[in-house]
């Protein structure tokens, strides 16, 4: 699929969701199970992207101290957990990746 077509579909989907309830309903209370499902969307989707990125950097499971992306990612997770600072997490993770890439053969 063409990149532009993807962009436009992404935009339409996003806009349709934002517009949906404003047009459809004047007052609505979503059932608790839906609210909980929506609350769980970010951790589920983002982890589903991050885990393979760290554990399978070249498409195969690579559990080893030679996996620099895994090491840098785990360090970044610790920084994110302790500081809740997005920018600091990215900086520490990138610097760790560069240093490890230089140190590891």
């Amino acid at each position: 699929m063409n990149v532009w077509f993807i962009l436009i579909c992404m935009g339409l989907v996003t806009y349709a969701i934002r517009l949906s309830m404003i047009l459809l309903l004047e007052r609505v209370d979503l059932p608790p199970i839906i609210q909980w499902a929506l609350y769980l969307v970010p951790p589920a989707v983002l982890s589903a992207i991050v885990f393979p990125e760290l554990l399978m950097p070249s498409g195969m499971l690579y559990l080893s101290f030679g996996n620099v992306r895994l090491l840098a990612g785990v360090l970044a997770a610790v920084v994110a957990w302790r500081t809740k600072n997005v920018l600091l997490t990215i900086v520490v993770g990138m610097v760790a990746l560069w240093v490890l890439q230089m140190v590891m053969p």
């Binding site: 992404m10 499902a37 969307v41 951790p43 989707v45 957990w81 997490t89 993770g93």
Partner: protein, 253 residues
């Protein structure tokens, strides 16, 4: 006796608009760097300047744009990208539903415009303001201008910071492995949000399923993992709820 209680004098469209702009200003300190990071990463992921730039007005949703760029970079098929965008942005249904009663009497044109501006940030400041206003004073007839002020300020900041990031990104050599910064951004967003057992279980099981299902065709593993993670998280939540009920019943006896 009582002088000047007409709310229209106190709440003009102009004053509401400015109040909305003011309310969102502090949040922009966090938004601007995020927009710049997006710009840098979009270029690092191989998008051309035109597509990277257009994504901000067309999609106008930070996390969906990050996810989209990452998936385009890894060659995920368009249908899967669009469906993932749908899942990532599903939370906006909550915003849309909760803001709907406040916009109910507006014209279609206003609703269509304000829906476009309904980002996490604009929603957060606006609904806070509406809830406070509802508790204290007479409702302003112009309160939709508040959302317009917050939304347009957010929009302009996102476009400008994105463009600045794209300009910077074009100067960064690819040997810097900047694509990894997208994964780092997601880590930075997810880890602090893991506050309870359902979300922790959802995150870990989605990640594990994504690794196991990585070889599914069309990168469908991503969607299987997301839905699987959410389902398992919901199951943990339901078990917690039934345990509490059970304990309460035991206490009552």
């Amino acid at each position: 006796m009582i002088v000047n209680t007409n709310p229209h004098l106190k709440h003009s469209p102009r004053s509401e608009f400015i109040a909305g702009v003011r309310a969102i200003l502090p949040i922009l300190l966090g938004v601007a760097p995020f927009g710049m990071i997006y710009g840098v990463l979009a270029i690092g992921a191989g998008l051309n300047v035109g597509a990277a730039m257009s994504m901000s007005p067309i999609v106008f949703a930070g996390s969906a744009q990050f996810v989209g760029v990452q998936l385009i970079h890894s060659g995920v098929p368009g249908m899967v990208i669009v469906f993932t965008t749908f899942i990532v942005n599903l939370r906006h249904i909550l915003y849309s539903a909760s803001i709907a009663p406040h916009l109910a009497r507006l014209s279609r044109r206003w609703k269509w415009l304000l829906a476009y501006l309904l980002t996490d940030e604009a929603y957060a400041v606006t609904i806070t303001h509406y809830n406070q206003a509802a508790a204290s004073t007479v409702e302003s007839a112009h309160k939709h201008w508040y959302l317009l002020g917050a939304g347009l300020t957010m929009w302009s900041t996102w476009q400008v910071s994105t463009a600045a990031g794209i300009f910077l990104g074009a100067q960064v050599p690819s040997s810097w492995s900047l694509d990894f910064a997208i994964a780092l951004t997601f880590i930075a967003l997810v880890v602090p949000a893991l506050r309870d057992r359902p979300s922790i279980t959802a995150a870990i099981s989605a990640g594990v399923i994504a690794v196991i299902a990585a070889d599914l065709p069309y990168k469908l593993g991503l969607i299987v993992a997301a839905i699987g993670g959410i389902a398992i998280g919901l199951w943990v939540k339901a078990r917690q709820a039934s345990n509490t009920n059970h304990n309460q019943r035991a206490d009552n006896q």
